[in-house]
Structure formats: structure tokens, C-alpha cells
Amino acid sequence: MSEAALSSSPTGASRSPLRTAAPQSGFAPWKDPSKTPMVRFENVVKRFGDFVAVKDCTLDIYEREFFALLGPSGCGKTTLLRMLAGFEKPTSGRILVAGQDITELAPYDRPVNMMFQSYALFPHMTVEQNIGFGLKQDGMPKDQIAQRVEETMAMLELSKFGKRKPHQLSGGQQQRVALARAIAKKPRIVLLDEPLGALDKRLRQTAQFELMGIQERTGTTFIIVTHDQEEAMTVSSRIAVMDHGEFVQIATPGDIYEAPNSRYTANFIGDVNLFEGKVVNVAGGFAEIDWGPGLARFKAVAPEGCAGQQQVWLALRPEKIHIDLDKPTDASNALPGKVVDVGYLGSISHYHVELANGQRVKALRTNSSRTVDRPISWEDKVWLQWPAETGIVLAK
């Protein structure tokens, strides 16, 4: 209730941007095996000639989720969305909405509405007519259409623009009209294809919070396609990271960031340092990793199934590495190096540290005090250290 009241602010500015992974605490329907998913992709394959756009994808998306399909262009995320909308037919597999097979349904018979990347607003219709278009197709009486259009426009602060044509609106306003048109029919699922791609960065951030507000107020399932990892992290309850037509990882933003399952995900979301090595010893839940002759072995939490002599990568987020001038006394992992680059950003500083073997490591430090006796600078000999729990051992 309080969530809805807060999100009524159009910009969402009153809401804390520091949101936890799930929209409501404890919102995790994907953990509940008794729930019927709102959308289910079942072994969906899509080929265009020889090109395989989507390879055997199986995915469940639940009611009220804000689900993100994230990946570089050409990874199959848009194809997946278009198959759900009905614009493409799967080569094989099934798509179910609320337990009902919709694979063979025409786009105009599906309970989903889409917000297009290009907005695809009807240029010959006013804002009101655009928003009311879907309602008109359903044969809703005129007065009810007018009322619903009114409500939707009020929700998106468009009431002033009802009589205008799309070309008389700014990019941000057009984006809101496109969203209004997609939610006006109160569909069970709203699909968003790179909805904020055409906006500039500042407007995009405002629009992200607006999207989240609308999604929570309407209680609709939103599925967003984006290549912007920050956007996916901000808005979604869960993210599916895609590459070459396959899901690499499906998890909450927090899990994707803190527990990536592969180098691909670790690299795609946020900054990461990767060290290649070999497991030499597993003991007491910790793995010892040899990553080069003459270099101190890493100690990290051993993942399940981790065995000796296995080739692995250690992933380390820059902000989890502690940088210091003095050699630490009791760290599980400590590496000497030389600062080659410093980036001062005010609140934080970036350091690029070159190790003895030539590899460069990125480290981050928050500038928590105004004056420091001796700031770390270029050419400084420094020590990097981190606890065994922060490094992530990746097998692929």
C-alpha cells in the first residue's frame, strides 16, 4: 500500500533509488513450486534460415514480476519478446500464458501488449486516439474508452497533450504515450522492447523509476528487453542474461552481481577482475588456486563440485579489493603491485594496479575522509588484499 502511494509521484524521485533486488521484500514467486507461471517458454527454438536466433529456451516468468532480458544486440532477446507478442512463430517449442498454450494465436488475440522501441505511435491520430486504439478494437463503449484514456493519461501526466499529434510531442512525452497505449487495455503482460533507448541519460533514469512505479501500481507483469545492464539492474525483479540465443544465467540483480555463474555474466554486469588459474587443493570449503609460478596462491570459497586440477577463473569486483601502502599482516589474499593509473571521481577513486606478472587489476576506494595524510598516487608500491569469501571461483 505504501509502495503504491509513494510511486504515485510521476518521476519516482521520492522513492529511494537504492532498492533491493525484489520489488517487495519476500517477493520471490519463482521459489514457489506451486505457482503457475504467468509466462512459460517451453523448449522454444527460433531459426531464421541457417541462423539460430533462439536455442532451446525454457523460462518461467511469474505474475507481477518485472523481468529483464539482457544481452548484447543479436543475442535473441528481442526475438524471444516478439515470439511472445506473436510477431514471430517459434520453429519449435511452446509458449504458455497463465497455463494456456498461445503458440498458435494471432498477435491480435493475445493478452499481451507491447511498447515498441520506435514507439510506433499512429502519426495520424491524436494522443487520446492512440491510447484508446486498443480499447476501440475490443468494442468498448465510447464513454468508457474516454474514461479509461483519461485515467491512463492522468497516471502518466499526459492530460495536457490529449489533443496533440505524436509529432508535436517531445521524445520523453512520446515515450509516455507509447507506455500509456501499452497499459491502457490493462493487459496481463506488458512487453517493453528497449523502451528507453531513444532517451538521453538523465531522462532515462527518471523514466526507469516511472516504469517501476507504473508496474507496481498496475500490478502487471512487465517484461523488458534491454542491452543496458544498469537499466536491467535498476528496474527488474529478475534478469535473464542472454548470449547467442541462450540463457547464461537467470537470477535476481543482486545474485547476478554477487554470484555470477560464468565469466560472461561477471563481465557483462559491472566491472570485474579475472584471474585464470588451477585448483590445487580443496580443504574446509576453501580452494587454493595456483595462478602462475612464483605467485602467492589465492584462497577462495570453493564452489560445489570443485575438484583439484580443474581450470578456473577467480572473479573479483574492484570495490571489494582493499588497497593499502603497507603490507597487510593477516589477509587471506594479498598481492603486491604498482599503481599505474588513478582516476579521482570525488566520491570514489579508481586505481589501476600492475602486478609482478604484468596483469593489471582494478581497485576502488571510497574517499570517506576529506583529508588523507598520504594519498595513494602514481608509481606507488601498494598491497591489494581481500578476504577469501569475496572472490568468486568460476568454472566457465
Binding site: A85, A106, Y108, V112, A120, Q168, K185
Partner: protein, 293 residues
């Protein structure tokens, strides 16, 4: 200075090749017929003053053509034939233009070429060719009789039907090209959006495609209707003596009767008949654009 020169070129062109000739024709239309070269009075005579010269001009020829049913009927018949053939041309051209706009991108330049291709042959020759097709012992009748569809040859030549066929055939490219241009511009995502919002394809056509192609429809209709109204060659060659069209009447007046003043009056009225609705239409469009702003 250079800018003014550049801007004045089209106006100069219009002045020399439209306005001045128009005033000459208009002046002739106010004169009387005479057995002379050129066959009308008065040519400006320096012996009389401007006042006297003007006093000799009158609207007698206009009165004459409005009182003679031949001319009035010719106008109405021409407008009717042009109007009906414009609608028929639109009906034939729309599916063609639609198919072109929906064809694979790499085919489209070829398709446009094919539409323009007939222009490489003389218009007159192409209309003549239709005589060979439409006449009693022509290709069409031979074809239909050999197929057994008909036992008696159809009479198409020298009927209004032949004129309609001729006009539709001749002016089809003028309709297809603007239609294609406006259809091709329509973002395919708009049709997806319409389908997504619950509109089946045939409804999407009337709600999205057709309204967005209206500028092309109007441009095409003007490009066909205006020259078709004044058309002379097609009714003369295919329509026979019974088909009344103002272009034919005008030709007869100039070259048969050698009554230049009346012929000029006919031409001036024809111009007004066509120009006035166009100007009204354009000012209306301008107003709509203003209102949209």
C-alpha cells in the same frame, strides 16, 4: 542578389510559359471571329487608343458557350468521364502500389522501373495499340472467342468503355507512383502495433494503412483527374464520334471551325473549372495544417 536570381527563375518560367500565354488566350477569347490571319479581331491597332481597344472586347463568347448545350454537355461529360476513370484508376493502382511497397526491398527499384517503362514508348502509339486490341476483330475478341467465353464479338471500340480503358491504362503510372511513395513510407511497426492492440489485418488496413496513404491518394487523383478532363487523344482515337469530351470539342473549335475566340473562351473556362477546386483544396489543407499546429 544571387539569391533573388535563383528564386526568380521558376517565377520567370511561369511568367513566360504560363501567365503570358494565358493572357494572350484570354485576350483572344474576348475578341470576335474574323476572316483573317490570325482569324480574330482586333489585333492591336496603334491608330486607336487603349480605351477604344478595350471597348471592343466583350464576354460575348463566354455567353455563347454557356448558352450552347454542346459546350456545357462537353464540360459535364468530360468531368464525369475523368471522375469515373480517376476512381477506377485508383482501384486498379492501389493493390499494385501496395504490393510494390510490401515487396522485398531489393526488388522495389525494379518494380518502379517497370511501372515507368511504358513511358519509353510514345503515348500516341500506345493508344493506337489499344485499337488493335479492342476493335471487333481485335486481339481481345479473338482471345475470348477462341476461349469460348463469347460467341459474338464485343463492341468496345467507339464506346465510353474504350475511353475508360484508355484513360486507366495511360494514367496508371501517375496514380501508382504517388501511392507507392506514401505506402512505402509507412513504418511496418505501426501495423504490428495495431495487431498487438487487437486489430486484425483487414481492420488495420482501414485504420492505419489507408489513412496514412491519403496524401498519395489525393496526389494521384489530381495527377489523373486534371489531365484526363482535358484529354483529347484518347476519346478521339478510342471513343468515336459519340463520346463528348471538352478536349475534343476544343480541338474541333480551333481546327474544324477555326473559331479561335470561342475556342479560347472554352480553354479559359476549362482552366477555371480545374484551377478553382484545386486552389480551394489547397487552402483547406493549409488551414488544417495551421489548426494542427
Amino acid at each position: 542578389m544571387r539569391r533573388w536570381l535563383l528564386i526568380s527563375v521558376p517565377y520567370l518560367w511561369l511568367l513566360v510559359f504560363f501567365l503570358i500565354p494565358f493572357f494572350i488566350v484570354f485576350k483572344i477569347s474576348l475578341s470576335d471571329i474574323a476572316t483573317a490571319i490570325p482569324p480574330y479581331t482586333p489585333v492591336f491597332d496603334f491608330s486607336m487608343g487603349i480605351g477604344e481597344f478595350i471597348s471592343k472586347l466583350d464576354f460575348e463568347n463566354y455567353r455563347f458557350i454557356f448558352n450552347d448545350s454542346l459546350y456545357v454537355n462537353s464540360y459535364f461529360s468530360a468531368l464525369k468521364i475523368a471522375g469515373i476513370s480517376t476512381v477506377l484508376t485508383l482501384l486498379v493502382a492501389y493493390p499494385i502500389a501496395y504490393g510494390m511497397a510490401r515487396a522485398p526491398k531489393e526488388w522495389q527499384p525494379t518494380l518502379v522501373m517497370l511501372v515507368i517503362l511504358p513511358f519509353w514508348t510514345s503515348f500516341l502509339i500506345r493508344v493506337y495499340a489499344w485499337i488493335g486490341i479492342l476493335k471487333k476483330e481485335g486481339l481481345l475478341n479473338l482471345f475470348l472467342m477462341n476461349l469460348g467465353v463469347i460467341s459474338e464479338p464485343l463492341t468496345i471500340m467507339n464506346t465510353p468503355l474504350a475511353v475508360y480503358i484508355g484513360i486507366i491504362y495511360s494514367y496508371l503510372p501517375f496514380m501508382i507512383l504517388p501511392l507507392y511513395a506514401s505506402l512505402e513510407k509507412i513504418n511496418p511497426a505501426l501495423l504490428e502495433a495495431a495487431a498487438d492492440l487487437g486489430s486484425p489485418p483487414w481492420k488495420s488496413f482501414w485504420q492505419v494503412t489507408f489513412p496514412l496513404s491519403l496524401p498519395g491518394v489525393l496526389a494521384g487523383c489530381f495527377l489523373v483527374f486534371i489531365p484526363a478532363t482535358g484529354e483529347f487523344v484518347i476519346p478521339d482515337l478510342l471513343g468515336g464520334s459519340d463520346t463528348l469530351m471538352i478536349g475534343k470539342t476544343l480541338w474541333g473549335e480551333f481546327f474544324g471551325n477555326r473559331d479561335w475566340p470561342v475556342a479560347s473562351a472554352v480553354a479559359v473556362v476549362l482552366l477555371l473549372v480545374l484551377v478553382i477546386p484545386i486552389v480551394m483544396f489547397q487552402s483547406n489543407q493549409e488551414k488544417e495544417r495551421e489548426a494542427a499546429r
